[in-house]
């Protein structure tokens, strides 16, 4: 499921960082929880995940901020090249880093461009009167949203541009929190590692630590393979990006289906030879050698022989 959006505004908000405002001319934008991201199609099959910075209630636009990565795969350069009026295809928002509703307090730690999901967290926290504070480490002069955050948070924002100072601030923040505080961190790998190590050392249980990790937007399209239909002695080609279920349908082979998510068990197909690549939630471990849920699962081997 994708949304066809249009660039309403593009602005360099810090050196090398561009904010894109995406609007939907033909309808309303779906709401989302703080910390959600969208996957942006960046041309040539590239798909990058970017955090949404708004609070997510009845959004009038989706805003993302993108750091230009010169030696990346070109996805960020593509986004930086977009102009007002250009069309962009993005996924619906996906939530993998939401605030915990029962938390007594929210301690946010952001490094550099990792500030983007935190901006959304701050907005949601203020909207619902949740106690919140933010520790923001960035390079001197490259501080996206720092001013806006200072306006929103006042002295609940602590900024640092020096790694040693940040280390001390982090230690203090980790030790001062009341029981029931949840910690959220997003930033470069070494920063996240450091926060997690220090938090563990300060006795934080893992259930109260949350880190932003971009998950694949959906099941990946997978490799192509051939489904060999034993009973009708036919080969059905299953291209990358097409499910086995859809390929069978297109070939005129009716398989019942319901959820198309690999949970209901409706689309089960017996396997005679080959090794399935299971991506469902339905089959038990001991069923996995001789059946496949064709709505989501594929084949590890070039051919999969099924009893149809």
């Amino acid at each position: 499921m994708t949304l066809d959006l249009v660039v309403g505004k593009t602005e360099e908000i810090a050196p090398g960082i561009r904010e894109l405002t995406l609007v939907r001319p033909d309808g309303r934008l779906p709401p989302y929880p703080a910390g959600a991201h969208v996957v942006v199609e960046c041309g040539h099959g590239r798909r990058n995940a970017y955090s949404l910075t708004g609070c997510g209630v009845e959004p009038d636009a989706y805003r993302i901020a993108v750091l230009h990565i010169p030696d990346g795969d070109g996805g960020s350069a593509y986004v930086h090249g977009l102009r007002v009026g250009d069309r962009v295809r993005v996924s619906r928002p996906r939530s993998a880093f939401p605030p915990v509703a029962t938390a007594r307090r929210h301690l946010l730690v952001a490094g550099g461009i990792g500030i983007t999901p935190m901006l959304a967290h701050v907005r949601a926290a203020l909207r619902w009167d949740r106690p919140v504070e933010l520790l923001y480490v960035h390079r001197p002069g490259v501080a996206p949203y720092a001013e806006e955050l200072a306006g929103l948070l006042g002295d609940r924002l602590v900024e640092s541009t020096d790694p040693d100072e940040f280390g001390r601030l982090l230690q203090a923040a980790l030790r001062e929190q009341p029981i029931g505080t949840h910690l959220y961190v997003c930033g470069p790998g070494p920063l996240m590692d450091r926060v997690l190590t220090d938090a563990a050392a300060a006795g934080w249980p893992p259930e109260r630590l949350h880190l932003e990790r971009f998950v694949p937007a959906a099941l990946d399209p997978g490799r192509e393979f051939v489904a060999r239909l034993a009973r009708s002695d036919r080969d059905v080609h299953v291209p990358s990006g097409t499910s086995l279920l859809d390929a069978l349908h297109a070939a005129g082979v009716a398989v019942p289906s319901m959820c198309r998510q690999g949970v209901c068990g409706e689309c089960r197909v017996p396997v005679l030879a080959g090794r399935p690549l299971h991506r469902d939630e339905f089959l038990a471990a001991d069923e996995r050698s001789d059946a496949v849920m064709c709505c989501v699962s594929r084949s590890e081997t070039d051919a999969l022989e099924i009893d149809l």
């Binding site: 709401p31 619906r92 928002p93 509703a101 619902w128 939630e281």
Partner: protein, 321 residues
């Protein structure tokens, strides 16, 4: 054919019934032998006024049917916006939700009301956001919070429960709520369902049906008032054919499972439909299929659903031509 039967979500797709994680995408119409159902998430039908009056009466007697743990405020507001918006979209001629900044006006010509309220201000709505929402839709509503790798039933307004109770279940894990169902745990159905729900992304909508039987058109069969409806289940076994067919009902729940956008809560909308055996029998295919399902249903499942005393009599009546 009555209008009620034309929209009745007859739940059986085969002559036998077993539990399964029978979820499917919402908003897909289902053709039945008598008509169709399932086009929208909400179904405002001829019972709208009477059922809402009944809910109000139940809440009056027992306000504890509405339960909201304090961290669920955002979820309650999210549910309110989502569902009122959906109602207005489905019935633009009779309902509307207008916003000017934080001020909202909800108009519902079917109930003849105009309600002004302020976004996020619980006190501006009678019953708070969830209580008010319960006065506008026939569905029972349960809101699940997701955290610590589980779903928690932390808010709900439930007046038409089939032998369970929101007051007992509030604050429990999804897995605990489904504790005593036979077979369901062994077959891994509940944990599979929970994993499925936890993976729902903002705005995704699914539905499932569930069924049981009850005596008379009584929507409120909550556990806390068992003494009011339990004895009828015993007495009906001795009724003669006509009375049995008139009083015994197939009770179907259409449950919609919606991942709310902003709060991230999972919303269960549970809508209950009732049709007596006599009504069902006017559709020959249903009469036969339901008869077979009842006759074949394994003992433990019939027990759990509380059908053990009368399902034999019901099956015989349905299958006798």
């Amino acid at each position: 054919m009555t209008r009620r039967l034309a929209r009745f979500p007859f739940p059986f797709r085969a002559d036998t019934y077993r539990y399964s994680t029978n979820v499917e995408p919402a908003r897909v119409p289902v053709e039945t032998e008598a008509g169709s159902w399932g086009t929208g998430i909400l179904d405002v039908d001829d019972e709208y006024g009477p059922e809402l009056a009944e809910r109000a009466a139940v809440l009056d007697r027992d306000p504890a049917r509405l339960q909201v743990l304090s961290h669920m405020r955002p979820a309650c507001w999210d549910a309110l916006h989502t569902v009122l918006g959906e109602l207005a979209a489905q019935h633009p001629d009779r309902m509307s939700l207008e916003r000017t900044g934080p001020d909202l006006v909800w108009r519902n010509a079917l109930l003849g009301i105009e309600q002004r309220f302020t976004d996020g201000d619980d006190a501006s709505l009678p019953g708070g956001p969830l209580g008010f929402l319960g006065s506008q839709v026939q569905d029972d509503i349960v809101l699940l919070d997701q955290r610590e790798g589980s779903l928690w039933a932390d808010a709900g307004i439930v007046t038409f429960a089939a032998d369970w109770s929101m007051r007992f279940d509030v604050g429990m894990r999804f897995l605990e709520v489904h504790g005593p169902v036979p077979r369901v745990h062994e077959e891994g159905i509940i944990s599979r369902a929970e994993r499925f729900l936890m993976r729902l992304q903002p705005g995704q909508e699914y539905r499932r049906t569930n069924w049981t039987m009850s005596v008379d058109r009584r929507l409120d069969q909550s556990t806390e008032i068992y003494p009011e409806w339990g004895p009828d289940r015993r007495a009906i076994a001795d009724a003669d054919g006509d009375e049995l067919a008139r009083r015994l009902h197939l009770r179907v729940e259409v449950q919609h499972l919606v991942r709310l956008g902003h709060s991230g809560a999972v919303m269960f909308l549970i809508r209950t439909y009732l049709a007596s055996l006599a009504e069902l029998a006017t559709v020959p295919a249903w009469r036969e299929r339901f008869g077979r399902v009842l006759a074949e249903l394994p003992e433990d499942m019939a027990d759990y659903k509380g059908l053990d005393r009368f399902r034999g009599a019901a099956a015989r009546w349905l299958l006798a031509n």
